[in-house]
Structures are given as C-alpha cells and as structure tokens.
C-alpha cells in the first residue's frame, strides 16, 4: 500500500510542493487524488530531503491544498506498448479515445527512452521516395533521418505532411511501414484533417495517433511526443517496421516547456525559453535513426510554425541545429498559389549525399540538384534586379535565367496534392528545365551526364 500525503504546501501554475515526504525520487510518477475523486498525474522535478516539487500534467485548476491526496508511485512515467496499437487513437497521455478496447500491453517502457549508442547506429542511406519533387529532387529524405517542416501560421504544412505520409508508404516491396502521429496543441480541424485523410486512404490501419488538442491540458504536451516515440521505437526496433513519426506542432510543445520553466522561476535563455531547450529538443529529435542489425527505422518529420515566419526564433533555430536539415515553406509562394510552397533555396537535407546516386536514385542526381539550385538562385537574383532596373537592363543570359526561375517555380515546385512523381520523372523534369539555359553556364554538371540526359534541342520547346 502506497503512502498518501496530505501535505501539499503550495500550488502555483502547473507546479505544486509536497512537504514531509521521505522517499520521493527524481522524475518519479505522482498521482494526486482530488476531493472529487478525480485522479491526476504528475512527475517529480526536484526531490529534496523534506519536500518534493511536482509538475502536474493535467494542470492544477480545481485542486485544493487541504483535501488533495498525493501518492508517489515509485516508478517513472511509462507507456504500455503493443502491436495492437496500430490503427488506434489515443489522447496525449496514451489512453484510448476511439471507443475501442483497452490495450493489453506486451511491455511497459519508460517514455524518456535512453540515448542510442552512436556506435550502434547505422548510417541512414536508403532513399525514401515521397513523390514530391522539391523533397525527392532537391532535399532527399532518407530512412532514419529527422527532417522538420518549418512552416508559418496559415501555410499548408498539414497537407504536405499528409501527402508525405500517404506517398512515402508506397515505396519498398514487402516492407512494413507505419505512421506514428503526435498532435500537440493543434486545433480539432487540423487533427480531423489528418484522421480523415488517414481513414480515406486506409492509412489509418497502420497508424498510431496521439491527440493532444488545443483545449487539452497544456503540460500534458510535454509527455505526448515521448509517448509517441516510445511506441515508434518499439514498432521499429522490436517489430522491424519502418516508422514515420509526424510531430505537430513543436512550437506548442516548447511553449508548454516555457510555462513550466517560468513557474519554476528559472533563469531564462533567449525569449524566455529555458536554457535547456536545446537539450530537451534533442532528446526528442535524436530518437530518430537506424540501428545496425535491426530491420526497422524511425524517420521523423516534426512540424513547427515559426512565429512571424522568423527562422532565427529559438524554436526553429535550435531545431535546425539538431535535425538533419529543414524544409521551409514560403508565404510568398503560397500567395502565388503554388503548392507545395517549398522555399527550395533555404531548405536543406543534410543526408542527401548518402541517399542518392547510382544504385540509389540515378547517377546524375547530385549534379542536377546542384545545378538547379545554382541556376534557380541566379534566376532569383536576376528577378530582384529586374524589379529595380527593369527587365531591359538584364543581359541576354540573365533573362534566360529569369525565365528559368519562373518555370522552375511553376512546373518543378508546383504539383498537385495527389500528384505522386517518381524520382525519374522528377530528374527528367529537372533536365528539361535546365535545357532552357546556355550549355556553357551548366558548370555543376558532368559533361557525360549532359550528353546522356539533356533533352535534345527542340524537345523542351512547347512543353508546359
């Protein structure tokens, strides 16, 4: 029988202090029983000789000092995992909310996980075809990578993530694939979009969904991604499934973290976020990867909305330092009606070089990618110049680059939500666009590739 304490001395924000406890351990799970009989959970943030500081996941509203009873459970926060979780919907704390039966756990796992030994990792090198040209052609995603989408309020990141989840699944023959989806503080409508899309395409059968919506307890969000990743690790490394984890929206997660930090009166780092934000985020993102000798993998696609579209804000900034690249959405392209509005120039996949080339995609992939980048950025410079000086001030060559940049946006970047391009289609489209430029300007391409892949003169004309 666990001891019950009625010695709460202080409640403030999401935190409470319990006095006269002897055996509280750091990070221990805590249950609080309210006068009404409602039970809430929390964890120990600071264990002292005579007192414990506890963070409550479901908040402190309605709690009182006199009546509430506190129990220390002697274990850390865990989740029961099982293959039966596929196809099910849970709340942010891991309880089923889809009306289905309870999950009989095969195992109970600590949600904090342990760091993967770098020596045990296998380097991500298997190309994932997402069917989206701006990702496959320009910022290739590989299995075991963590590639976030940096978005802004009102941009179609949800559609894009759903498209990736839908289309990435079709690659590979006979390999098992699953999606683990964790929603943190997003609206009902956005969550509903994902669930509906997963249902319609049948993807729900191999998805595990964790839902902490905007009106759910804020502090619960700190646990949600860890729950999701613990399940993902179980599926990937014990059941051999390739798991894609979508975490949305990391901005809400960080805000919950800031709330706790402020309540603890910690010295803040930048913009009031705690100094350990980097470490905390890395403990989530670094759970992506592959382990040598294991079949499965965890690929992460976190989504975050940049406040004011500012990528130097601490959340995107620290995320970018941990993740292996970033896909940045552009409001300008979105306004111009281009979907997906990927800002190719500032997006980056750090693992691209290992995932492409002969035997993986095609020998010309690296060259085409680099040449498209260089040409697009030159075209955009020409565009800026044309805005100031007028198009007439541009040289003949610059004008061709300008035209190229426009065609690149309207044909390469733009594609339908259900347009699933193969990597060959994407690469050939790249060559077709490059044929608009003078051959002497194509310095990033190997001569033999130009001879082999460049569409012959005239072939490109008339296409649209």
């Amino acid at each position: 029988m666990l001891k019950e304490y009625r010695t709460i001395s202080e409640i403030s924000g999401p935190l409470m202090v319990v006095e006269k406890v002897g055996e509280a351990k750091f990070d221990e799970l805590v249950e609080v029983e309210l006068a009404s009989g409602e039970v809430r959970r929390g964890k120990v943030l600071e264990a002292q000789q005579s007192s414990a500081l506890v963070q409550l996941f479901e908040g402190t509203s309605g709690m009182d000092i006199a009546q509430a009873k506190v129990r220390f459970l002697g274990r850390v926060l865990e989740i029961g995992v099982s293959s039966d979780m596929l196809g099910r919907v849970f709340d942010g704390f891991g309880s089923p909310i889809d009306g289905g039966p309870r999950i009989v756990p095969e195992k109970r796992l600590d949600i904090s996980g342990n760091p993967i030994n770098p020596f045990a990792r296998a380097y991500p090198s298997e190309f994932i075809q997402t069917g989206i040209s701006t990702i496959d052609g320009m910022n290739p995603l590989v299995r075991g990578q963590k590639l976030p989408i940096f978005s802004g309020a009102g941009l179609p990141h949800a559609q894009m993530a759903a498209q990736v989840a839908r289309q990435a699944s079709v690659l590979g023959t006979g390999e098992r694939f699953a999606v683990v989806f964790a929603a943190m503080g997003i609206t009902f409508e956005e969550a509903d979009y994902f669930i509906a899309d997963f249902r319609r395409t049948g993807a729900i059968e191999r998805a595990v969904l964790f839902m902490n919506l905007a009106n759910d307890p804020t502090i619960e969000r700190i646990a949600t991604p860890r729950m999701a990743l613990t399940v993902a690790e179980y599926l990937a490394f014990e059941k051999g499934i390739h798991v894609l984890v979508i975490l949305t929206d990391m901005t809400n997660y960080c805000e919950a973290l800031r709330e706790v930090s402020a309540a603890r009166k910690e010295v803040p780092g930048r913009r009031g976020y705690p100094g350990y934000l980097y470490t905390d985020l890395s403990q989530i993102y670094e759970r992506a990867g592959r382990i040598s000798g294991k079949d499965g993998s965890i690929t992460q696609m976190p989504i975050l909305t940049m406040p004011e579209d500012d990528r130097t804000h601490p959340i995107p900034d620290l995320t970018g330092y941990i993740t292996e690249g970033q896909v940045i959405l552009s409001r300008e392209l979105h306004r111009a009606g281009i979907y997906p509005p990927v800002n190719v120039s500032v997006s980056l996949s750090r693992l691209k070089d290992k995932g492409i080339g002969p035997g993986k995609t095609r020998e010309d992939h690296a060259g085409v990618m680099n040449q498209l980048y260089a040409a697009y950025s030159r075209g955009k410079e020409a565009k800026e110049l044309a805005v100031i000086l007028g198009e007439a001030a541009l040289s003949q060559t610059e004008r061709r680059f300008l035209k190229f940049a426009e065609a690149f946006e309207s044909r390469y970047v733009r594609q339908g939500e259900h347009d699933n391009r193969t990597i060959e289609q994407t690469l050939n489209l790249g060559w077709e666009l490059l044929s608009m430029l003078p051959r002497t300007e194509l310095k990033r391409l190997k001569l033999e590739h130009i001879d082999k892949y460049m569409p012959k003169a005239g072939a490109a004309a008339g296409n649209s």
């Binding site: 351990k25 264990a47 000789q49 993967i116 030994n117 770098p118 380097y123 890395s282």
Partner: protein
Amino acid sequence: MKQGRIIKVSGPLVVADGMEAARMYDVVRVGQRGLIGEVIELRGDRASIQVYEETGGMGPGEVVVTTGQPLSVELGPGLMRSIYDGIQRPLDVIKDMSGDYIARGVEVPGLDRQAKWEFEPRVQVGQQVVAGDVIGVVQETTLVEHRIMVPPGVSGEVIEIRQATATVEEVVCRVRDGERIHDLTLMQRWPVRVGRPYANKMGPELPLVTGQRVIDAFFPIAKGGTACIPGPFGSGKTVVQHQLSKWADAEIIVFVGCGERGNEMTDVLLEFPHLEDPRTGQPLMDRTVLVANTSNMPVAAREASVYSGITIAEYFRDMGYDVALMADSTSRWAEALREMSGRLEEMPGEEGYPAYLGSRAADFYERAGRVISLGSDRRGGSLSVVGAVSPPGGDLSEPVTQATLRIVKVFWGLDDKLADRRHFPAINWLRSYSLYLDRIDGWLRQNVGQDWPEMRAEAMRILQKEDELQEIVRLVGVDALSREDRMTLETAKSVREDFLHQNAFDEIDTYTSLAKQRRMLGLILEFHHRAGEALANGASLDRLLALEVRDEIARAKSIPEGQPEGFDAIAGRIRDQVAAASAG
C-alpha cells in the same frame, strides 16, 4: 571510506551533505547505482555534484562516496581508433555490455585491459631518464608509433627494462629515484582539467595544410594555432570540420562531437576506416580518436567531453606529433556550462551564461600551441584546435562567439547566404581572417612558390573590388561599368566559382594540394592579365568572355593531383585564344 548522503536531486545536479572529505572537482559515486559525478561546489559539508548520467529514480537519502581523485583520462596504447563518450568510456564496449542504448551506471576503463602490445625499449639499464623521456615504443596502428614516456614528476636511473608483449597494466620498466622506485607501465593517467606540462611554448611557423582551397590559400591556420568556425545551422560547419579531420596534414586527429547529432558521429565511424590518408595510403581511422557525446546524452558529460579530448590530444603532442583537435560544437559545451550554472543558482551574465564563460573558453584554447616537450631530446610537437560555434540565429554578437573570437587567431565566418546559393565551403571571404599569414609566408614562399603570397593578395583585391562594384551594379546596372571593371567582375566570379567553391563529396575536388591550388589560381589570374592587356589594346570584351578556354579554367579543379601538364596545356590555350581574340 566516508560517505555522504543526497539531500536534493534536480536533473543533473545532486546536492549531498556529510561530504567534508571531498575536494573540488573530485569524482564521486552517486546513489545505489554508483553513477559518476564530479564535485563542482562546496559549502560547509555540502557538496554540489554534476552527475554524468541520468538521475531519474534517484532520491534523497542515497549514499555518495568520493573517490578522492579528479576526473582523469587513461593515456596509453589503445587510444587510436577508439570512440569514447564524454568521460572516456569506450562506446563499443558499452554496446557489448548494455546493447543498442546507453544504459546507466556502466563502468568501463578507457583502455582495454586485455589487449597486448609489443613494447620495444629505447633506453638501457643504468641510463638516467627524466620526465618526458621516451623509454620505448609500441606500434599502435600502421600510422602511429606510440611513444611510451616517463610520466611527469618521475625521474631517475633505469634499473630494469624489458622488451615485452604487455598489457597496459604490466610493469615494463623500473626507475630508481634515490630511495623510491617507480614502476612504469604502458599507461599513465592525467586529470582532464589540467593542461599537461611541457618544456616551452613557441610561436607557430608552419601551416596546417588542409587541402581546402579557401582555407589554405586565404585564411590558413598554423600548426599549433587556434581557429573557430561560427555559422548558423545549415551553413556547413560540420562538413568543414569533417574535411579538416580527413585531410589536414596532422599526424593525429582528435574529433570531439560535443552535443551534436548521433548520425554525424556514425558517419565518421563508418567512413573513416574506408578513407585513405593522402600521404601514406593507410586508413584515416588509424590516426583518429573520437570523443562522442551527442546532444541527447547527459549534459554534464558534454561539459567534460572537450577536456577529455584535449587531454588525449596533449598526450600525443608530448610524444612529438602534430595533433589537430576538432570540437563540434563549443556552443553546446557552453550551454552545458549554462545549464549547470543555472541549477547552482549562480548570478547569470549575458544571456544566462555564467560570468566565467570567457575565462573557461580561454583556458581551453590556450592549451593549443607548438611546444618543446619535456624530456632530454627536446622533441617538438604541436596541438592545433579548431572549434565550431553555433550562434543562435547566426547572430555573431552572442556571448559564446564573442568569447571565442577574443582568443582564437583564425576566424572562418560561415555565411548562410552563400550556403543558400550552395557555395561551399560557405566561408565568407570578406569577413574571415587569419592572423598567421605573416608567420607562415616564409614557409609558403619556399615550398609553394615565391609569388604565392602576392597571388593571394591579388585575388583578394579582386574579390574586394567585386564587392564595391556590385554596389554600383545594384544601383545603376552593369552597363554603367567600364570594360575593365566588367572584366574584374568576371574574374572575381571565376575566383569564387572556379577556385573557392569546392565540392567535399567529389572524389578529386575534396582535397587540393598547395601546388595544385597555386596552378588553379594561376590560370585564373593568367587569363585576367592577358585579357586585361588585350582589352587595353582594344579587343572586344564579349569576345574575350566567350572564349572556350574559360570553360576549361572552370573545370581545372577536376584535373587529378600530380598532373601539371594539364595546367600547362590550359595555360598555353589561354595565350593562344586571347591572342587570337585580340588580333581581330
């Protein structure tokens, strides 16, 4: 032994009382699991301890035992090819013991106790030795002869020495110092927070050749020098660091992955054994030691990792080697300092960093240098340190960058605008600097070419001129420029694209020798001069710019090493084609 008791646990910080016996920076064992920690504050009998492992499940009342020893690393054969965590536990051994994830409380010595090494004596019985003298050698890898030295503080007469196949713990030599007899093994220990002693320090005179054109030609680092690479995410810090550890002409490389990505360490681990040292043809891993404390590993061990790394590096420097240490990234080290400082409730300095950030950074970088080692043969060795800095939002005014810039002599400023244009390495040529140019120019003149410093200066002038001209072009368009200025713009573009831009993933382009660098820049300047003369004589600019040979200059980077005739041929065609174009 005297025991203390935990009275508070808050993340990586544990406070214990009953710790009268503890000294600052002593290593302690914390709790039932015996987690490793270090004393960082003492108040009466209370000690604040930073714990190098996760403290979840630990609570007040558990015991704390001090070991009476400062945090130390083991130095001896077996270091090469190793991958360690921040407190020198071999990650491969941890994997064998605890599986794919790093479990807590694992205790593993830094050096393998079973491995046997062929010890070849270099001194004889009766000989007098002093600290630093080499008593014998072990061929540790194909690339590294591990010199076994008399540890600091020991000297006297050799009374016994044997050629042996020995483990690191077996005694191979005995030295009598008056009444005392010292047993010497292949291994010694050294506390990580104390620099290893040397006889004297000297100014750097030789360049550390890296094969990276923008670095070697414009902003070189000297052997024994310090450099920093600040840059926002995605600007290519890690690729530059990896390139340096692959190609720098140091004999030993220590790579410290401090709070960075797990996959990056795996990349190094998997790639280095397959890469050949360009000078010897042996695997690069044979000269490399890795210290990996990834971002999700415990934060206190991250703080220790740079010290573990630099102590290992100093040990090889003492043997007389040129050692290069890469730390990626020192910002994560500073953040670990900040986190511990916050938990100690110290008064914060700028942006929450502790007020002692600057002095700690200076202590670290000052451990670099070219030295004469202890020992009677006065060997020289060097330790060069390259630290990556990850300024939040790319803002160089932040405390870690500023603290670093006050100390280091070379600044490679990465620029996200260049990175966005896929110009790599994205080192900004207008902002970066090297304070070693004057010191090493003598060597460069002798070994690369008498005119090399002048060529570098001319190319730099052209790049600076380009920046000024671009201002004008942005305002009034390129037509407003004179023909000479337009030529300058074209040459600057050629310097940028055909010389500074270097593809780390291309087989040939990844490394360029100094000789080839001079030829490449030589072609660009040759064209610039000849075309400039032709212009002055009234030739058409458009015709000059349309010459086919310009394309060949651009592709000169793919001429393999050791084929100067390729360059000679292009130089010949420059002369011919420019002459033809000006003739009419």
